[in-house]
């Protein structure tokens, strides 16, 4: 794979949106997206926010069990970063509806020809919520804080290629890296997922410490935290930031409630206790859709899920055994029985939200397509009759695993469900101590995030022993290529190999659904993110 030295394609202020759309059209992804929802094609921030009704409180219910911390450099839950932190903190860049990269704090940026030097031009007169000016030097402090070994930020690895960071003046930030890294803007500099470099005010850390900052952070995004309202794990209140560079958001405030139980979330919506439900679970889609007071907005998800087989253990060291499993799964039946028909069939590790690279399952013939006869033949060839593999799972929802167990019995596999608690699950997950498990990727800013982690020989999540030198080479090429068109072709090539090698039997993508009461207007869906500054309440 030859390296393209056309890094200007990633320079700002709009990254390759045209290229992305052209590619999306070519791959049929736009057609797919258009079927999902008309709002999907809306571009971000077109509205003059001051022309819409001002005021009111949005009550947002969130399907999480708690909020461990509000410090972006410490938060590891993608949903919290995408839905809460993205409203409190800004990034250098942010996403549009197609996950294209557009300006946030940086109004423009350039990337050197060798792809190593990023020069950001910040907006002038930016301020933090406490009124302190926000300049390029604050980004340097943020970099130093995130990468401080004593601070142990889980996001430090996103900044590991940086060799130099400099601020020649208040609005210029120059970041130099040791090697080109195409996903850098999305994974390390963006609002939401790129939280490693969300600017942090040093004066506040000096005053209240890192622990205090995790409870009552001071950011620079469109909403600021009401310190007295914060009860981590119960919720918090945000109020409009008057001096936000984009102008004061229409909403006065947002009340965020943590609602761990699924049925309670749906009831809270129906009883009028919340105005917006962040994520509508599969079981709630028809229930809420039947009520004309609610609007469900659907965007393609950035996630994919598959049944992972551990190649270091028999029988999964045999490619025929893995392909037998992949072909024995009727995805339509799985969708219907495990998810009430509310998920999308998945053919590989590229999620529908990445329109520039996603391939519609209807246009792709996967070798993993359901074919019970062939599956039985392969199972016989691989001697699966006596195999009793264990499928490791957490206790939250056993239906997907139970459906797979039933389907795999058709080819003579006696799958045992191995139910373990969450901590043990992750420990065994990381140690590669499992035969099979259902896993995948949830909130990503770029397909590189998880494809590298799962399919690169030394990838951090590749605990299943998958190794294909050709895939390794393609992954390195994808990271060092700036041309999105070329990257898309590489990802699609990786997907084809992954389908054939079948370390995973690819299963489903979950669309990103959110629900509102009808007075909530102006929401612009961005997959797995909830940027709320465009929302207004009708009747205010």
């Amino acid at each position: 794979m030859t390296e393209r030295i056309d890094w200007s394609a990633l320079s700002g202020p709009h990254v390759s949106r045209r290229t992305l759309l052209t590619l999306a059209m070519a791959s049929g992804a736009v057609g797919y997206a258009a079927r999902l929802n008309g709002a999907w094609a809306t571009s971000r921030l077109p509205t003059r926010l001051q022309d819409v009704p001002q005021g009111g409180t949005l009550r947002l219910g969130m399907g999480i069990t708690d909020i461990p911390t509000l410090d972006p450099a410490q938060e590891t839950t993608g949903i919290i970063a995408g839905e809460i932190l993205s409203n409190i903190f800004s990034g250098l860049v942010q996403f549009d509806s197609e996950l294209g990269i557009i300006p946030d704090l940086a109004e423009d940026w350039t990337i050197s020809d060798d792809g190593l030097v990023y020069t950001f031009t910040l907006r002038s007169a930016l301020t933090f919520h406490n009124g302190d000016p926000l300049t390029a030097s604050d980004l340097i402090y943020t970099y130093e804080r995130t990468t401080d070994p004593e601070f142990a930020s889980p996001h430090a690895n996103k900044l590991q290629l940086i060799t130099d960071i400099a601020a020649p003046d208040d609005t210029t930030l120059i970041i130099t890296q040791s090697a080109p890294y195409a996903p850098f803007l999305a994974t390390a500099c963006s609002r939401g997922p790129g939280r490693a470099l969300n600017p942090i005010p040093k004066t506040v850390i000096d005053e209240i410490g890192n622990e205090g900052f995790g409870r009552t952070p001071v950011g620079c995004g469109p909403f600021k935290v009401v310190p007295d309202s914060v009860e981590l794990a119960s919720g918090l209140e945000l109020v409009a930031f008057e001096d936000w560079y984009g102008g004061r958001p229409p909403l006065d405030s947002i009340e965020i409630s943590v609602i761990p139980e699924v049925s309670s979330r749906l009831s809270a919506m129906e009883s009028g206790d919340i105005d917006m439900l962040d994520i509508v679970p599969a079981i709630g889609v028809d229930r809420l859709a039947a009520n004309d007071q609610f609007t469900i907005v659907e965007a393609p998800g950035t996630n994919w899920w598959g049944l992972r087989m551990n190649l270091t253990r028999p029988p999964w060291d045999n490619p025929d055994a893995r392909m037998a499993v992949a072909r024995a799964i009727d995805r339509a039946d799985f969708n219907e029985k495990a998810f009430l028909g509310k998920v999308v069939e998945c053919v590989g590790p590229i999620a529908p939200a990445f329109g520039w690279v996603y391939q519609d399952p209807e246009t792709v013939t996967s070798p993993q397509a359901y074919n019970l006869e062939q599956a039985k033949q392969l199972a016989e060839k691989a001697g699966l009759a006596d195999a009793k593999p264990k499928l490791m799972l957490q206790s939250d929802d056993p239906r997907p695993a139970e459906n797979l167990r039933n389907q795999l019995a058709e080819i003579g596999l006696d799958v045992e469900l191995d139910l373990v608690n969450t901590t043990a699950y992750f420990e065994r997950w990381d140690a590669g101590d499992y035969d099979m498990n259902i896993t995948g990727s949830v909130v990503d800013a770029d397909p590189d995030d998880n494809v590298w982690n799962y399919f690169y020989s030394e990838g951090p999540w590749n605990t299943h022993g998958y190794s294909n030198p050709e895939v390794d080479e393609l992954l390195v090429a994808e990271r060092t290529t700036s041309d999105q068109e070329e990257r898309a072709a590489i990802f699609q090539q990786i997907q084809t190999i992954a389908q054939q090698d079948a370390p995973f039997a690819f299963l489903y993508h979950e669309p990103d659904r959110t629900a509102f009461i009808s007075s909530v207007q102006g929401y612009v869906p961005i997959p797995e993110q909830r940027y709320l500054e465009t929302i207004w309440l009708e009747g205010e």
Partner: protein, 315 residues
Amino acid sequence: MTQYIIRRLIHSVIIVWGCATLVFFLIRAIPGDPVIQMLGPEYTPEAAEAMRHKLGLDESVITQYFRWLGNILQGDLGSSITGAETVRGAILSGLPKTMSITLLAFLIATLIAVPTGVLAALRRNSFADFAVSLVAFVGVSMPSFWFGIILILIFSVQLNWLPSLGYASFTEDGAWEWLKHLILPSLAIGAGYSAILMRFVRAGLLEALSSDYIRTARSKGLSERRVVIIHGLRNSLIPVVTVAGIQVALLLSGTVVIETVFSIRGIGRILVGAIFDKDYPMVQGTILLITVIFVLANLVVDITYTLLDPRIKYG
């Protein structure tokens, strides 16, 4: 009596210390590494090592134990290892919620159990007795989370009378808001509790009413009302109070489920979340608190015996 209470308090300290120590080592014996879970998708061996070092989890368990014990003696319960909260902060925010639910549930249960129990005992084998017993059986068998969901569907979704989630502070939001948020969760656990309590009131009163002193009281010509309430009910309360004491602790654990259904983060939910996350300091702190409450509740029960039955004396 004072000496007795002091002795009991000293015993209590030993019990609490024993429980705390047991919990400290047991929670570490459960399989699973909190750091790996905490890092989730951001896991790399290097990040895990750095975080372990930061949290002091790379030290020996014995070192960790003595450090923790030393901090406890200075009143420092530590900080959550999985989040930005202090254990003290979490308990101070969770305790009023759980206590409010528990006390209101206790009140609701008593208000239901005592009159219905008395009625069932006085009209033994009547239709009323049968009906009350049937309702009690349903109450005992009904899981509180299911009853909670049914209450939400009726009173929040259909009638829109009461909120389906959250907690309002008595001091900041006012008594009515506070009560409005508590009625459904308290009713959900109080109903089951009242059924148990009612069975004890009925049985206790039946036994008391067949005693000689009741016959004496009746023969003295006392009114039936006085016989039942002063002589019968009071003497039947010893087993009821015993059960009530145990049940207060059970109510505390009963709130775990109901706090989840009603999205109220009280002690129960803090504890369960901490166990799932293996947030050691939070588990240790909340169990310490629950142990203290349990031990004190038992002490209160024992002292209440002396008020109910002057023949009981501690010395």
